[in-house]
């Protein structure tokens, strides 16, 4: 049944100054990296992607950046507080190919962290570009190191690793990859999409749109011109699909359904 499950927060991890990970027990269907959950704080409900999938301990982690009233409320929660979760929803990443490049920008690292852990556990060869504005905001480095993935950090201010954007770091990587998996701000993803196209590397990109029902009905998250629902056919789309998504990197829709150019 698509009804929020009320769970107690088991642990809270402060990942950076504005990102926290909430760990909850989860005995429902196990998410695939890239899928999302609807999080209800009893005042509002928002989609959040899963950053940690621990099948051994039946736990999942949701990493949330403080950006508005909802996420600020979430950041005030303590261990033992309750949250409502429903999901997992949507299509996640398909882990395929021999050599995989994962790219996460900012809190877009959330699904990428879960992805890298799963891909490495299944013994794929994984390189990760971890991008953020500054050193403090680079997420999940400890977890990533444990997986044995090769890590390329990059920061806008050069405070850690490569100085510059993820796209610039990508351009310096001369390796070939069978597959790239990307999550981050859409402008960043658009640039990476074009670069990957140029190099003939298929990519999977996790998109974010305004989501109300998450059940494929309300239509708020439909993409132009295909009409694909981010909550069902997405949130992860492949490069060959994104070629048909006219609005990718251009605009999204607000709560009324009106078009808003990407900032």
């Amino acid at each position: 049944m698509h009804v929020p499950k009320i769970l107690e927060i088991k642990r809270i991890i402060r990942e950076s100054s504005d990102v926290k990970t909430l760990i909850c027990p989860w005995d429902g269907k196990s998410p695939v990296p890239g899928q999302f959950m609807m999080i209800w704080d009893f005042k509002d409900e928002k989609p959040m992607s899963v950053s940690l999938i621990d099948k051994t301990n039946n736990e999942i982690g949701i990493s949330i950046r403080k950006v508005g009233p909802f996420t600020s409320r979430i950041h005030k929660l303590r261990e033992g507080d309750k949250l409502g979760l429903r999901g997992p929803y949507g299509r996640g990443f398909t882990i395929e190919g021999h050599r995989i490049l994962a790219i996460g920008g900012g809190v877009g690292m959330a699904p990428i962290a879960a992805l890298v852990e799963e891909a490495r556990a299944r013994d794929f060869e994984v390189d990760v570009i971890v991008a953020a504005r500054t050193y403090d905001e680079l997420l999940f480095l400890d977890r990533l190191e444990k997986t044995g993935a090769r890590i390329f950090t990059c920061t806008d201010d050069g405070s850690c690793g490569f100085k510059g954007f993820a796209i610039d770091r990508l351009k310096t990587l001369k390796e070939t990859y069978d597959m790239a998996m990307v999550c981050g701000p859409e402008a960043m993803m658009k640039g990476i999409f074009l670069e990957l196209e140029k190099r003939g590397i298929p990519g999977q990109f996790s998109l974010e749109r305004y989501i109300k029902c998450a059940m494929g009905l309300c239509g708020h998250c439909c993409l132009d011109n295909t009409g694909w629902r981010v909550c069902v056919e997405g949130p992860v789309f492949w490069s060959h699909e994104l070629k048909m998504v006219k609005e990718f990197g251009e605009y999204k829709r607000d709560a009324t359904g009106a078009i808003r150019p990407l900032g």
């Binding site: 049944m1 698509h2 009804v3 929020p4 009320i6 609807m38 209800w40 009893f42 005042k43 509002d44 409900e45 928002k46 309750k82 409502g84 109300k212 029902c213 059940m215 494929g216 009905l217 309300c218 239509g219 708020h220 439909c222 993409l223 132009d224 011109n225 295909t226 009409g227 694909w228 629902r229 829709r253 607000d254 709560a255 009324t256 359904g257 009106a258 078009i259």
Partner: protein, 300 residues
């Protein structure tokens, strides 16, 4: 064999996309048509943009869904741009709402040239006071809205009614008297409610929402059957359809066409095509040559 002529609107089959579902963008409406729908109804839109309610706006119930989206839409000015992007060959019904006959008329006049039919949402069970069911639960208000839009518009007008009234026949008769060309039965049932046991809180942010899905089909069938006996205009049946049998039941009860919404959740977008394929097999087996022959068969 499956084609339907509904108030002059020619549809290739009797399965329409219901209002409120996948109807907020042209891309989405085009896609649903290409998945087999005979016609599409837009999400209800109004003069001004509306954010709708906060989430949670939907929760599952036994064999049904409870939703209170809150009539979110970008407003007619913005929505017109979407309407222009719908493929020409697709029969489009614009679902519109407002809080007064004048508001309905303004919205209708904006779009009537670019749609095939207008459906008046006087039935949303989770609308703000003064909108939706607040109108459709009052025979006089219903009459005024339908009359005003009919006087102002040249396209066919359907009134979508709420089952949440003591006597739906009374409302249907008033809508017909006011000149509507068709009646859509039924909007979602209730309102309904789901309370979380751990917190004691109603789950929907609006507390109450409309119940849709298979749970409400027996009520919708009765509404169509009952109204069919008192009005002359064609009926559009909606509520809990998930397979061809449900469509046949609605046709027998008196519907000339049907609408499908929640089934997209239960069965996926393929539900339109699947229903039409199965319906054709059923009609051949039972010796029906047209949809029309089946309409109202349950009445003596």
């Amino acid at each position: 064999m499956l084609d339907v002529n509904l108030c002059g609107v020619k549809m290739r089959n009797p399965t329409m996309l219901a209002a409120g579902v996948l109807g907020i963008t042209a891309s989405s409406l085009n896609r649903v048509y290409h998945h087999g729908a005979g016609a599409v109804v837009t999400k209800s839109f109004s003069l001004e943009p509306n954010m709708g309610y906060k989430n949670p706006t939907i929760v599952e119930a036994p064999y049904g869904l409870i939703n209170a989206m809150g009539l979110s839409n970008p407003g007619v000015k913005s929505f017109k741009k979407e309407l222009y992007k719908i493929e020409d060959r697709i029969p489009v019904v614009a679902s519109i709402y407002g809080s007064s006959p004048e508001e309905f008329v303004k919205v209708a006049l904006e779009v009537q040239d670019i749609v095939d039919m207008i459906e008046l949402n006087v039935s949303c069970p989770h609308a703000m006071e003064g909108y939706g069911a607040t109108i459709g639960q009052d025979p006089q208000l219903t009459f005024k809205v339908v009359e005003a839009v009919k006087k102002a518009c040249k396209v066919p007008v359907a009134a979508k009614l709420t089952p949440n009234v003591t006597d739906i026949k009374e409302i249907a008769l008033k809508a017909e008297e006011a000149g509507c060309d068709a009646i859509t039965l039924i909007n979602s049932l209730g309102p309904a409610m789901k309370i979380d046991l751990k917190t004691g809180k109603p789950i929907l942010s609006n507390k109450f929402g409309g119940l849709s899905g298979p749970a409400i089909k027996p009520i919708a069938i009765r509404c169509v059957y009952e109204v069919y006996e008192v009005v002359e205009v064609p009926l559009i049946g909606v509520g809990g359809i998930t397979d061809y049998k449900d469509v046949v039941e609605f046709l027998y009860a008196g519907a000339s066409a049907t609408q499908i919404g929640s089934a997209i959740f239960y069965k996926g977008l393929g539900v339109f095509k699947r229903i039409c394929d199965d319906l054709k097999v059923f009609m051949k087996r039972e010796g029906f040559k047209s949809i029309n022959e089946m309409v109202g068969l349950a009445h003596e």
